[in-house]
């Protein structure tokens, strides 16, 4: 039987990144993916003939540029296209728009508030500094603050120096971002409600929190850290959808010699004398390897792939406490033609950017209220893009696909999710869009509604949390996924974790997968 240097469980983008880096370092690597295709939550599927849906994740900005270069992803088909504008329709028929051109955006903002138009630049400058302040952390293995090991101390020292160098003003702002609600944080800067509502929406994505919940300001920053061509906060759309990102990484991994097997779910990690020695597939086959890496979320990695007696009881308790609470759904539509929004009638460049359904802070907070008490939002927050307007290849010529990210849809819905509830949720989404774009519903050729339960069922992400674990402060950095085990190793020797449930967390970022590979190679890499 062939023995691999490393087996990677899960062919999501992080698992593939780990595999590619290990293979690049001349390790023999096997990736095992349960589904018929790689990608995990970054997949593009032709659900309706001729229409390609970015099933779950739909935009790219957090993908680390060093990964793009190290793995030469453009050569493997990666092409990230700019997504420049955001239009927020308001309940009174007006709108707020942010365009690719800075002057145009400022003039638009001036229409709503001359004061905010000026504050906007200063705010942008601060967030630039904040993103820069956090950037080194993204590329760093979290040191354990309770440890006196030389590596940890060196890491802490480096961090301490880094934060001291920020200076008082920026350090204070960073602490505020780490502790405040996005609504409160934005209140310090702006007076225009629709502006605050739209900006605060970045702070609630993937969390079970509302814009007025403390901790959301950090998530806002997390979404600011995306970097395209050295510019922070630049969002893009991958040609071919996010599935093309996964395919490019998979192709790079293969070019380095990695083997990728689909339809190959793993049921157990084999452990002998406290050391991982291989895996058992769902079909009963056993495969052996020097090391095993799980890119699944922490719950499945530790509570499903391992027997609990193989782990310290306290660690198991920590993992059981790790919060998922999926709160997002997705509605993907095939359209006969593009909808015209009544705030900005007609078809135009606005369709090449995002539409944010976040007309006011109260609107977004009320959407959360519904979810807090176990219901999906009757009028949800939505982030809408038309992928076919950016990459015409996503739909037949002249036709379109529409990707609607929806919050909130609680995993633990009152009475549980049923087919009827799913359709009712889908109706709430399209009816809300219809209220901003009359006539929209008649253009729908096909509708795919995805609840958190569906996300869990299809991708395996526990409770359908898109970040493989909430991006809450108590679950970040050296606490992700559990105190003492944030450095990609696990209590089982030769068993590593590499998914978004580890530092620095979710989004199509690949940073967890890369850092895990670095750690593994430092440890000797199974060979």
């Amino acid at each position: 039987m062939k023995r691999y240097d490393a087996i990677v469980i899960g062919g999501g983008h992080n698992g593939l990144v780990t595999a590619a880096y290990l293979a690049r370092a001349k390790k023999s690597v096997l990736v095992l993916e349960r589904r018929p295709r790689v990608g995990g939550a970054a997949v593009t599927e032709e659900i309706f003939p001729g229409f390609k849906f970015t099933m779950f994740s739909y935009v790219v900005s957090l993908l680390r540029p060093e990964i793009i270069r190290d793995l030469d992803l453009p050569r493997h088909g990666l092409h990230i296209l700019p997504l420049e504008s955001t239009v927020t329709p308001m309940e009174n028929g007006d709108y707020l728009a942010a365009w690719g051109d800075h002057d145009e955006t400022r003039r638009e903002l001036y229409r709503h508030s001359p004061r905010d138009a000026e504050a906007y630049d200063e705010y942008g400058r601060l967030m630039h500094f904040m993103a820069q302040a956090v950037k080194p952390i993204l590329g760093m293995v979290p040191p354990d603050p309770t440890s006196f090991a030389p590596g940890d101390l060196a890491g802490l020292l480096k961090l301490g120096k880094h934060f001291r160098a920020l200076g008082g003003e920026r350090l204070h702002a960073l602490v505020k971002l780490m502790t405040m609600s996005s609504a409160d944080f934005l209140d310090e800067w702006f007076e225009t409600d629709v502006l605050k509502a739209t900006k605060s929406a970045s702070g609630i994505i993937g969390t079970f929190l509302g814009p007025r919940s403390p901790g959301t300001a950090y998530v806002l920053l997390h979404h600011y850290m995306g970097e395209l061509d050295g510019v922070f906060r630049a969002w893009g759309f991958a040609k071919g959808g996010t599935g093309a990102v996964s395919e490019a990484i998979a192709s790079a991994a293969r070019s380095f010699g990695a083997e990728i097997r689909c339809d190959a779910g793993v049921s157990k990690v084999l452990v002998r004398n406290g050391r991982a020695t291989g895996v058992v597939l769902e079909n009963g086959d056993e495969l052996s390897a020097g090391i095993v890496v799980s890119s699944l979320d922490p719950r499945r990695t530790f509570l499903q792939l391992l027997a609990s007696n193989e782990l310290p009881a306290e660690f198991v308790a920590d993992i059981k406490r790790f919060k998922f609470r999926g709160s997002s759904g997705k509605v993907n539509l095939a359209l006969d033609s593009l909808p015209s929004f009544s705030c900005m009638p007609g078809i135009g460049r606005q369709h090449r950017g995002a539409f944010s359904i976040s007309p006011s802070l109260d609107y977004v907070e009320r959407a959360y209220d519904d979810a807090k008490y176990g219901e999906f939002s009757r009028r949800p927050y939505m982030d809408i893009v038309f992928p076919s307007m950016i990459d015409p290849g996503m739909a037949p010529p002249g036709k379109h696909v529409m990707s609607i990210f929806v919050q909130y849809a609680p995993y633990n819905l009152n009475g549980g999710w049923t087919d009827a509830k799913r359709e009712a949720f889908g109706d709430a989404v399209v009816n809300t869009v219809e209220s901003f774009a009359p006539g929209f519903k008649s253009k729908i050729l096909h509708r795919q509604v995805i609840t958190p339960l569906d996300i869990e069922r299809i991708t395996g992400l526990s409770e359908g949390n898109i970040f493989a674990g909430e991006l809450a402060l108590h679950q970040l950095f050296f606490l992700r996924p559990a105190p003492g085990w944030a450095k990609f190793a696990t209590p089982v020797r030769g068993f590593y974790q590499a998914g978004s449930g580890t530092h620095p967390g979710g989004g199509i970022m690949g940073a967890s997968g890369r850092l895990a590979a670095m750690r593994i190679l430092k440890d000797g890499g199974g060979a």
Binding site: D229, G230, P397
Partner: protein, 397 residues
């Protein structure tokens, strides 16, 4: 008299959002139609970009000795070319130094269309004594658009109502688009799948409309010179007056280059009768050219480091640059050559440059490129990279 507008101007003029125009051979063409050229650039690699390339100089060369004349002028073998073929070729003075580069389309046994960046009528006449040939300057009467990108073939097939899948790279065919007679050549300046459409100037506007209407569901995007400049660097295609100087404009010997020094050795035929520069080029080939024209990739970590030293994130050029930049050896002390074009590739996520270096510096050699970081001269680490930077299979497929 002010600068001229091209036959497509009735359509391209109103598209210009920022009134950003660039001079080209006495005409104005769009630098970018939108305020930023980003989307126009991405259209080249993602869907299809439509460029107005009418300012090119164009000459119709006909007659019994037409091929003989062209063979005498250019370095490639025109006599061997078949009807329907397009040749990319440089041409040289008697010392084998490059005058210009362009294309020759073989429209018929005795009919050729030559394009050039500089006026070439006088040079053709000077070389035609005793030959039975007619040379017409059709620069103003022939308009041209270039449709470049992965969707270009699909769009043109629909517009021309004919199968273009058999039209190979650097071949041409005549066709009709909505009844308008055109020549379609599978050529371009982007290193991608792409075509150029040649039309009588009087039919330019209806041709433009037909292409835009057909192409809109496929994402056709009018694009300007800024976008083209990034794409041509990715494709490793050189530009006259930027990457080299015409030997007819050079003021000193050192400003001249031979095709062998410009990476165009493959265009210098070894199997044809006497042509301008032949003896010099043969001799240069034997002894080996002193210079090479090559790619450079600036190392990201080095760039990041240089900016981090002053507390900034790396600043990337937002447009392709075209200035001369010194290239040094890895010690940073000895100058090895100079880069003449460069920029950031949004597709490849690489900082690339086109450079003239001594022939001995093989691909992979570490060099240093001069860079100004916050008003101070620095040197970024870079590596010699073979051209092109980007060469998709679809270009020839």
């Amino acid at each position: 008299m002010s600068l001229r507008t091209t036959p497509f101007h009735p359509r391209t003029g109103p598209l210009s959002e920022g009134q950003a125009w660039r001079r080209w051979a006495g005409y104005v063409v769009a630098s970018a139609y939108e305020l930023s050229h980003d989307r126009e650039y991405h259209a080249i690699r993602n869907s299809a970009a439509l460029f107005d390339v009418s300012p090119l100089y164009k000459y119709l060369v006909t007659g019994r000795d037409a091929a003989r004349l062209l063979d005498h002028v250019v370095t490639r073998n025109v006599g061997k070319a078949k009807v329907g073929q397009v040749l990319y070729t440089p041409w040289c003075d008697n010392e084998g130094k490059q005058i210009d580069d362009g294309t020759i389309s073989v429209l018929g046994e005795q009919t050729f269309r030559m394009t050039s960046a500089d006026p070439t009528l006088r040079w053709l006449h000077l070389n035609s004594s005793g030959l039975d040939v007619t040379i017409q300057d059709v620069s103003e009467t022939t308009a041209a658009v270039s449709l470049q990108g992965p969707s270009s073939r699909e769009i043109l097939q629909l517009a021309a109502e004919r199968d273009l899948s058999a039209l190979k790279y650097f071949r041409l065919t005549s066709a009709k688009i909505r009844g308008i007679p055109v020549t379609i050549s599978r050529t371009g300046y982007t290193g991608d799948l792409g075509f150029e459409v040649w039309v009588d100037a009087s039919q330019a506007v209806p041709l433009w409309d037909a292409l835009i209407e057909t192409g809109t569901p496929y994402g056709i995007t009018p694009a300007g010179m800024l976008a083209l400049d990034v794409a041509r660097i990715e494709a490793g295609l050189l530009l006259i007056e930027v990457d080299y100087f015409s030997s007819r404009h050079a003021l000193i010997e050192a400003q001249k280059s031979s095709p062998l020094e410009l990476g165009l050795g493959w265009t210098v035929a070894t199997d044809k009768a006497r042509y301008n520069g032949q003896a010099a080029l043969d001799a240069e080939r034997t002894r080996g050219p002193a210079w090479q024209f090559t790619g450079l990739t600036v190392d990201w970590d080095s760039l990041e480091q240089l900016y981090a030293e002053v507390g900034l994130p790396p600043r990337l050029p937002s447009q392709a640059w075209r200035t001369s930049v010194p290239i040094y050896d890895r010690s940073g002390n000895k100058q090895l050559g100079y880069a003449t074009s460069g920029g950031w590739s949004p597709l490849l996520k690489r900082y690339m440059a086109l450079a003239h270096l001594g022939s001995e510096h093989a691909p992979g050699t570490e060099v240093r490129m001069e860079l100004t970081v916050e008003h101070r001269r620095k040197q970024a680490q870079a590596h010699v990279t073979p051209l092109p930077f980007f060469n998709p299979e679809r270009k020839r497929a």
